[in-house]
């Protein structure tokens, strides 16, 4: 059954099976997007849950002018950005309220230890990568995440972000150069 048909089933008949099919179809993709913005898998799962709740509640407003996936990814990006902003605020509060000795711990992603071959890849490198992605300007961060975590084409990213194809190319290009510089700085410091 197509996305459109499933959406109609949910809107017209409040069909649980249709809703669950739609969620199952996209849940991993949404979690991947959220992973690009968050520091932990649990956080990514929580945000993706919020995304699908929002989808259910707003489905009647969805006019099917764009593809369902485009609309869904937009919601996922918005929810993730909001969560990131709130997390940044909380982090700032904690940094100012806790002693500075704990500050670095707060900046290391919660999943660093859970990474496969954590000893080889090192927590620090993973933290540096996540920190570098986090520090990207918002538009670059969105474009990069949709491209790397969700593996969307430039055309699909342009639709989700509602910008031109050349703008997407430019954002991703600049994001990669910026990440490259930060990673190089990180490894040069270690050397």
């Amino acid at each position: 059954m197509s996305d459109k048909e499933l959406v109609e089933q949910i809107v017209n008949n409040d069909n649980q099976r249709a809703f669950e099919t739609l969620v199952n179809r996209y849940q991993q993709k949404v979690i991947n997007i959220c992973m690009g913005f968050t520091a932990s898998t649990d956080e990514a799962k929580d945000i993706s849950q919020e995304v699908f709740i929002e989808v259910y509640l707003s489905l009647r407003k969805f006019r099917q002018e764009s593809a369902f996936s485009t609309w869904l990814y937009r919601i996922a990006v918005n929810k993730s950005i909001n969560a990131t902003r709130q997390a940044k605020k909380k982090l700032l509060v904690r940094l100012f309220t806790k002693d500075n000795a704990n500050a670095n711990e707060l900046l290391i992603p919660a999943d660093a230890g859970a990474m496969p071959d954590a000893k080889m890849t090192k927590k620090e490198d993973y933290a540096a990568l996540k920190q570098a992605i986090k520090s990207l300007p918002e538009n670059q961060h969105i474009a990069f995440t949709l491209n790397k975590y969700q593996e969307l084409s430039y055309k699909e990213i342009a639709e989700v972000m509602d910008i031109s194809l050349s703008a997407v190319e430019s954002l991703i290009f600049r994001a990669k150069i910026s990440l490259q510089k930060k990673l190089a700085e990180h490894f040069n410091k270690k050397a």
Binding site: V23, M35, T41
Partner: protein, 144 residues
């Protein structure tokens, strides 16, 4: 290709965003520069963590049904207070109206009584003015 140029283009190379000509130049530099080669290995290993990261967060099997339950639970919770609210509002409104009628009626009676008495007194004063003292004394004189 210089070390600086290569440092900017590693990720683009890894993702296949460079032209074949640029890729060849980059590879040639990597073969000739140990420092850049080491950095390239470190960067590419770290960058590859994104792919490992994606596999880390897998959705639970009952993810979809959990959301369905949550949405409908929230709906019920939202609906229940509205029913309670509606009944409370109706009862309070009815009580308010009843109280208003009783209090209003009582005050109305008092004010009606007052206004009636006052109005009659006013009319009486206008049509039958109280005689002045001079007029009374003059009557007394005439009778004497």
């Amino acid at each position: 290709m210089t070390c600086k140029t290569l440092n900017n283009k590693m990720l683009l190379y890894i993702d296949g965003n460079l032209s074949s000509n640029e890729s060849i130049k980059l590879e040639e530099h990597l073969h000739s520069c140990e420092k850049c080669k080491k950095l390239f290995e470190q960067v590419s290993q770290t960058y590859a963590l994104i792919n490992e990261e994606k596999g880390l967060a897998e959705a639970d099997k009952d993810f979809a049904s959990q959301i369905w339950k949550q949405v409908h639970k929230n709906r019920e919770l939202k609906q229940t207070p509205s029913i309670i609210k509606l009944s409370i509002i109706t009862t309070l409104a009815a009580a308010g109206i009843a109280l208003g009628v009783i209090v209003g009626g009582t005050f109305n009676e008092i004010s009606l009584q007052n206004t009636n008495t006052e109005t009659w007194e006013q009319l009486a004063d206008e049509y039958f003015p109280e005689p002045s003292l001079d007029y009374i004394t003059s009557i007394n004189l005439e009778t004497e």
